[in-house]
Each structure stands twice: as structure tokens, then as C-alpha cells.
């Protein structure tokens, strides 16, 4: 049902692509139409490196519809190195081991599916940073 919508978001979901203001240099994610900092409108696509640290997190025990099978799972606010914060699930980690300030990196994973025969959504999640790994996803 949501096929056009998810297709439109592919650069964001798969490549963590936002925008960068050509006037003041500020980076944004999600992509913007107007730079929140200088109100400039000349923005260019900008792909984030996908490396950051955990600003805050929560362990979800009562999930919204479509996420019940993943409980308990962790959603975090991640501070990217470029100075932008994003909301994403953490993966490949025991919920007990998550801490604020923990270094993480982006990976591409399944976000969920729309019913048994529906669309499978893929997108960015973050995992504990593995030293020496380039990060950044595909």
C-alpha cells in the first residue's frame, strides 16, 4: 500500500542521505527545503558517514503494531559525527549493554514488514562500532 512512499524515501533509508546548505555549510537529516539555520534554499544532497554515539535510548517492551515480534528492542537517538541527531533502532547488541555515549555505526537491516505478504522495509539501524570497520553501510 505504501509502495510509492517507501520508494521515495530510498536515499534516506538506504544511504542516510540528507542535505547540506551551500550558504552556511550546515548538514541536515532528514533532507530539508529550507536551511533551519540560515533560511537559505540552495541545498545539495549530502550523504552522512553513519558514525556516531548514543545520545539516549529506550528498551521497548510494549511495541506498536507490526513490531511485536522484535520485543524487547532498543530505539536510540544517535548523534552523528557531522553534528546531526537521528532516531534509529540499535541492532546486534544486548539491550542490557547499551549505554549513553556508546560509539555506534550504521548498518542496513530489515525495518519491518507490512503484513505477511506485504512490502518488506529495509533501512538504517546502528550497531556497536567495530574498531577498524569503515561504517557507513552499503
Amino acid at each position: 500500500m505504501d509502495i510509492p512512499r517507501n520508494w521515495r524515501l530510498r536515499e534516506q533509508r538506504y544511504r542516510l542521505q540528507g542535505t547540506r546548505c551551500t550558504a552556511c555549510g550546515e548538514c541536515h537529516f532528514p533532507p530539508r527545503h529550507v536551511c533551519p539555520r540560515c533560511k537559505g534554499r540552495a541545498l545539495e544532497p549530502y550523504r552522512f558517514a553513519g558514525r556516531g554515539t548514543v545520545y539516549s535510548y529506550t528498551v521497548i517492551y510494549q511495541a506498536p503494531e507490526g513490531f511485536e515480534q522484535y520485543v524487547p528492542y532498543v530505539v536510540a537517538l544517535v548523534d552523528l559525527e557531522e553534528g546531526v541527531r537521528v532516531t534509529a533502532q540499535l541492532t546486534d547488541v544486548d539491550p542490557e549493554e547499551v549505554t549513553i555515549g556508546m560509539p555506534v555505526e550504521m548498518v542496513l537491516r530489515k525495518l519491518g514488514e507490512e503484513g505477511e505478504r506485504g512490502l518488506i522495509l529495509y533501512g538504517y539501524k546502528f550497531r556497536p562500532r567495530i574498531e577498524g570497520s569503515a561504517g557507513g553501510g552499503p
Binding site: 532528514p30 529506550t58 521497548i60 517492551y61 506498536p64 503494531e65 522484535y70 530505539v75 549513553i100 522495509l121
Partner: protein
């Protein structure tokens, strides 16, 4: 521009009204407010509501509620700003009467959350957040508040148990409010043992899913005594906004929408936070109570939880909040909540609050209704008019 006053109030009990529809609830509140103001007609109706389309498959509430309340033919529209819808409707009523274009306006907030299975309601409530970048990650509305609470605990060295003070106060007060959903006190032990929803937020940090409606009648202040012996002046009703997604805020622990809305309200009313006798704030979650107190200028950043534990927030404290239960104890029928808060402030100013929670000699009462995690905030300051 002219001064405006509230001359009539109405509310339905908050709860799970299996036997009553959206329109039943709205009409009951509107008629109660009209009876209270002794009016048989109005010029305009503003209906605050968030989820009628999603949960009751009914939009077009302006004309519908007008028709069933016996007001067919008048100007009537729905106003939506997530959980801030009711106060946003009040703002429209106030502007309409202030401008001189409308003489008698009614604002009603109504919400029917128990219509479908609770999963549908959970998903519907998450529509207050950013669908493409927050909700899609499996983030419920509770979880968004959990992100705030975890960071608050980390930054200010506050323990989870300390937040119990907000829940205990809300429930202690709700037991005296005949319109409240929960009428039994809650102990700190019960709080500590409550089921976790999204760590660190447990069931007793969260306001309940509820149905309800509340309404007020707004008229020019110079005519207020034609309608009521105890009119209440609307000293300010001001809106502020912030980013919808939490992650787009430089400091999520400082609710800029609250600061903007409260500052505008204080300026317009010509009062400061220290003159507010009762503060009905938006305690949808304990963390929101703390953040609202801080961004409204009643507590320094990081101190609200400590002040709550020192008793400052009780009806006999320095700044009473949730005096009739708040969102936690009275209940949180989202698109109606903002007008419940206003109705409760009016009761305090009239001296008609339940005796156990009535704050004495209140000159100014403040209601603050928040949409989403702080993206839309409406702060209303009401003033007692002495005869």
C-alpha cells in the same frame, strides 16, 4: 481588540465510554457549557479533536457537532494539533471574539479513543510524531518520552524512583474529582512495581487511554455578567511551536515550544510565573511534567523532580499542578484534554474546585496543552474577575 471571558464550562466524566459515541460526548459537554452560561445560541463553534477520522471514521466534526447540539447553521470547524487540539480550538474562539466578528463562541474538545482495539489506538497516537523518520523505527509515543526521560536521568543525576512524586500527587488529587478516570491514590511502592512499557517509562508514568469531552463558552468581557456571576477573563491564550521530530532539537530537554508559548502568554497577560496560583500542565508522562515546569520558568533546568519531591506541586505547595488529577489521574482524552485543563482552572478561580484540592485566593490560573513531544504548545492564563 477587546477583552474576552469564559462564562460557561462543561465536561463529561473521563473514562472508557463504551455506550457513548464521539458526537454524544461532544454534545453533552457543549450543552453543559451552554446551560452554565445560560445561553441558547452561539455564533461559532470550534471543535478540537485529533483522531476522529482514524478511530471513528468520522471527520467534518464542526458541522456534525453543531447540528446535534442544536446549533445547526452557525460557523463551525474542527481544529487539529495532536494532543494540543482542544486548546488550539480555544485559541480560535478567543481570537474570533477578541476581533469583534463573533459575540458568543463555543470551544469544545472531544476524543473517543476506545473505539477500536488498543493496538490501533497506540498506532494512531504515534501519528503525532514524524511518520517517516520516527514512527517507522518502531517508536511508540511512549518510547519518544522514554528517550527524554532516560537522557534527563543521565544529565541531571535523577533516579527513576524520584519521578514517583508526580504520579503520587496526580492520583491523590484525582480521587476528589468526580470527573476523573482514576479515583484511588497510588503509592510509591506501586509506582516502583508498575509494568515497564518502554524503559524507563512504566505504566504509572503514563496517562491512560480515555474518552471524554470538555467545553467552554467565550464572550466579550464587557458583557460577561449577562451570562455568569463568576466570569473568568482570558488574560492570554498563546501558541508556540517546535520541531515535530525530537531528534531535530539541539537540546531535547529544553522544550522550546513551551518556552515560546509561555513567554508569549506571560507577556500578553502582564504577569510572571510567580503569580500563577494553579498550573494545569500537560503531564501525559511524568517527564513531561518536569520539562514543562522548567521551560515555563517555574523551576531551573534539572530541578523540577527535586522540587516535586519536596512537595512544591501539591495543592498546598508553592506551585500546585494536576490539582484535579492531571492527565495521569483525570485521564487524557487527547483532543479534549486542553479544555479539561481550562475547565479545571475556571473552577479554581470561581472557588468551585473540590474542597480538598481547592487552592485559596487564586488570582491567575494557567493551563498548558501540548501536542506531540512538544511541537505545539498552547498556554492559557485565566484571571479571576472581582465583582
Amino acid at each position: 481588540m477587546r477583552d474576552v471571558a469564559i462564562v460557561g464550562i462543561g465536561q463529561t466524566p473521563v473514562g472508557e465510554h463504551w455506550d457513548r459515541s464521539l458526537r454524544d460526548l461532544a454534545v453533552e459537554a457543549v450543552l453543559a457549557a451552554m446551560d452554565d452560561a445560560h445561553v441558547r445560541r452561539a455564533d461559532a463553534l470550534y471543535v478540537g479533536n485529533m483522531l476522529s477520522g482514524t478511530l471513528s471514521f468520522q471527520e467534518h466534526l464542526g458541522a456534525l457537532v453543531a447540528e446535534y447540539a442544536g446549533l445547526e447553521g452557525i460557523e463551525a470547524v474542527k481544529v487539529e494539533a495532536a494532543c494540543g487540539s482542544a486548546a488550539a480550538a480555544l485559541r480560535q474562539a478567543v481570537l474570533a471574539v477578541e476581533s469583534g466578528r463573533v459575540e458568543v463562541a463555543i470551544a469544545v474538545g472531544v476524543e473517543k479513543l476506545t473505539e477500536l482495539a488498543s493496538k490501533c489506538t497506540t498506532n494512531a497516537l504515534a501519528m503525532a510524531a514524524d511518520a517517516d523518520y520516527e514512527t517507522v523505527m518502531g517508536l511508540s509515543f511512549v518510547a519518544i518520552n522514554a528517550l527524554l526521560m532516560r537522557r534527563y536521568m543521565h544529565e541531571y543525576g535523577v533516579s527513576k524512583e524520584d519521578f514517583a512524586a508526580f504520579t503520587v500527587n496526580a492520583h491523590a488529587n484525582a480521587q476528589h474529582n468526580p470527573f476523573a478516570m482514576f479515583r484511588a491514590p497510588v503509592t510509591r511502592q506501586q509506582y516502583a512495581a508498575a509494568k515497564m512499557i518502554a524503559d524507563p517509562i512504566n505504566l504509572l508514568d503514563s496517562s491512560p487511554v480515555s474518552d471524554g469531552a470538555a467545553a467552554v463558552v467565550v464572550v466579550p468581557a464587557e458583557r460577561a455578567r449577562e451570562f455568569s456571576e463568576k466570569p473568568v477573563r482570558v488574560a492570554a491564550c498563546e501558541v508556540g511551536t517546535d520541531t515535530v521530530a525530537l531528534d531535530n532539537r539541539a537540546n531535547p530537554l529544553w522544550l522550546k515550544g513551551v518556552e515560546r508559548s509561555a513567554r508569549r502568554a506571560y507577556r500578553r497577560a502582564g504577569v510572571g510565573p510567580e503569580e500563577i496560583g494553579v498550573f494545569e500542565l500537560h503531564d501525559a508522562f511524568s517527564i513531561m511534567a518536569a520539562l514543562s515546569l522548567e521551560a515555563s520558568g517555574l523551576a531551573e533546568p534539572g530541578t523540577a523532580v527535586r522540587l516535586a519531591n519536596e512537595g512544591a506541586i501539591t495543592p498546598r505547595g508553592r506551585f500546585p499542578i494536576a490539582t484535579m488529577g492531571g492527565l495521569k489521574g483525570r485521564g487524557h482524552p487527547v483532543g479534549a484534554t486542553g479544555l479539561y485543563q481550562v475547565v479545571e482552572c475556571v473552577l479554581h478561580l470561581r472557588g468551585e474546585a473540590p474542597e480538598a484540592v481547592q487552592v485559596e485566593n487564586v488570582q491567575y490560573a494557567m493551563a498548558q496543552n501540548i501536542g506531540g513531544s512538544g511541537a505545539t504548545v498552547i498556554t492559557t492564563i485565566l484571571e479571576r474577575l472581582t465583582p
